[in-house]
């Protein structure tokens, strides 16, 4: 839920990570319960993708910081209806 309410870009990325880690935990729990390794393999894929995603997310934040000198996402309201 942090993704929806937080206003700091960095914290937002951390919230995304938390969400993905919750899913990882669910996968490992299921796979130990079923004695089936497929779930744990999936966790590796999620970790790789999460790392790639956060790398891109941080790059976007750096780009925004260069233009606005802030990581506060409430400054970003230039696109209006």
């Amino acid at each position: 839920m942090g993704v929806l309410i937080r206003r700091n870009g960095i914290v937002l990325l951390m919230c995304v990570e938390l969400m993905l880690n919750a899913v990882n935990l669910l996968f490992t729990a299921f796979s130990t319960y079923f004695q089936d390794s497929a779930g744990q393999i999936f966790v590796f894929f999620i970790m790789v993708v999460a790392a790639a995603e956060v790398a891109v997310g941080l790059a976007i934040l750096v780009m925004i910081y260069r233009n606005t000198k802030s990581v506060d996402i409430s400054l970003l309201d230039k696109l209006k209806h």
Partner: protein, 460 residues
């Protein structure tokens, strides 16, 4: 398989080509590579469906969707000769990222395992975040990129949670196994499996921008460079809808009537809401964003009744939609190549006098999107309505009403072209000749005419 490998290698090659100063030949190289990939695709499909360890299956259906995506990308690559003038130093990167997005498309539409679905969606999304933000010094582009990133990451969370719950109920990621186990799983774990399916559906709704998960879409379409907007509106929509269709067709025995009701309501809301809001937009790119959201609504309506005709109906609709959308964005790029200027509807003022050819093509594309009879958009909509009318009469009524609304805003652009007077500062001629852009619009016009004369040409 060869297509996937070729696309990946070409992507890496374009990245290096951008570094070593081969920018001049990159669009040519990309076009040839894409055409070769298309050739390999048809060559492979000629020998029947290819099955990669039950992970990816390249059947007729996925071959067709990949072909749509590759053809759209060829047109957009030709456009890119002039389209990325604002960012010369990173031109190679953007062409490379386009190839990587296509790799994601290939994985997404031919998935036979939830792992490949997840990886495909991510391979598609991550390069797109970068492409949307590729206009680095423009704050609007930055904002669009961040919004798309956050929404995309959020959707990924939903998708993964859905897959985890389906895994918990069926103990497998394989689509065939899930389908065969679904009867027993539905008895033992009805809540888990239906919530899982719902979450995966929500994730798809985010990706294809269906109401009520569409809020990112107008902002992102407006903020990103016009070429990237065209890419997102065609290739990414095709991939998302294609993957969603495959998901529904494979898992249709698991889907309850409640699930179909949710999809029907989502489709109705998407059509009505998007068309009504589009009427109020002054920015042309925002208007096109809402228009593309409304087209998602029509396709969702086709997905409600799954039978053997569904893939060809949806495929035809996607081809017509992609061609018209690419034509429109190519015209926009010729008229307004400067990305920092706003794209309000007034840029079309007097286009009928300034450039009759452009105005003609823009009119044909807009009328095709709105579904006026002689144009192929009409046949595409007609076949969807005909299929849905027996089971969901109320939905067809809503769809027809919302198409009527949509005609209004498409005609706003058309009347601006032919009837509005040119103001003094806008009377600048289209100075720079953009031959690549003219080639693209001519190609899409020819495509639309062919589809209007032979609507039956596309069959799966």
């Amino acid at each position: 398989m060869k297509t996937l490998i070729l696309l990946f290698i070409s992507g890496i090659f374009s990245l290096f080509g951008g570094i070593f100063g081969l920018k001049k030949i990159l669009p040519l190289f990309a076009t040839i590579a894409l055409a070769t990939a298309l050739g390999y695709l048809f060559y492979d499909s000629y020998y029947g469906p290819e099955n990669l360890r039950n992970m990816l299956i390249f059947d007729n259906y996925s071959t067709f969707l990949i072909a749509i995506a590759i053809c759209s990308t060829i047109l957009i690559t030709i456009m890119s000769v002039k389209g990325f003038s604002y960012t010369d130093e990173s031109f190679g990167d953007i062409i490379g990222l386009m190839f990587f997005v296509l790799c994601g498309v290939v994985c997404m539409v031919s998935f036979n395992n939830m792992v490949m679905l997840f990886l495909g969606i991510e391979i598609l999304s991550i390069p797109l975040y970068v492409m949307v933000g590729s206009n680095r010094n423009n704050l609007k582009s930055n904002e669009a990129s961040l919004k798309y990133f956050i929404m995309g990451a959020f959707a990924t969370g939903f998708l993964l949670f859905g897959i985890a719950l389906i895994y918990g109920a069926t103990r497998t990621f394989d689509l065939d196994a899930i389908r065969s186990l679904s009867a027993t799983a539905l008895e033992s774990n009805p809540a888990m499996i239906s919530i899982g399916l719902l979450f995966v559906t929500i994730a798809f709704a985010f990706k294809i921008a269906a109401v009520p998960f569409h809020y990112w879409s107008p902002d992102v379409y407006q903020g990103s460079p016009t070429l990237v907007t065209a890419f997102m509106a065609t290739v990414v929509k095709t991939a998302g809808l294609g993957a969603f269709m495959k998901f529904i067709i494979y898992l249709s025995p698991m889907l309850s009537s409640d699930w179909y009701l949710i999809l029907a309501i989502m489709s109705a809301a998407t059509m009505l809401f998007a068309n009504m809001v589009a009427v109020m937009q002054d920015d042309f790119k925002r208007m096109m964003a809402y228009s593309s959201i409304s087209h998602v609504g029509y396709v969702l309506m086709a997905l409600l009744t799954v039978n053997k005709d569904t893939p060809s109906i949806v495929g035809f609709y996607l081809v017509v939609y992609s061609l018209a959308t690419i034509g429109i964005f190519a015209c926009l790029l010729i008229i307004n190549p400067n990305h920092n200027k706003d794209n309000s509807l007034s840029i079309f003022n007097g286009l009928g006098k300034r450039s009759p050819f452009l105005a003609l093509i823009l009119t044909v594309c807009l009328l095709s999107l709105s579904g006026i009879p002689p144009f192929p958009g009409f046949f595409a909509k007609y076949s969807i309505f005909k299929q849905a009318i027996s089971e969901h009469l109320w939905l067809v009524v809503i769809a027809i009403c919302s198409s009527a609304i949509s005609i209004y805003y498409y005609f706003r652009a058309i009347t601006a072209m032919y009837f509005n007077k040119v103001e003094a500062e806008e009377s600048t001629e289209l100075t720079e000749k953009n031959y690549a852009g003219y080639l693209v619009i001519t190609l899409s016009l020819i495509g639309l005419i062919v589809l209007a004369i032979f609507p039956g040409i596309i069959g799966l």
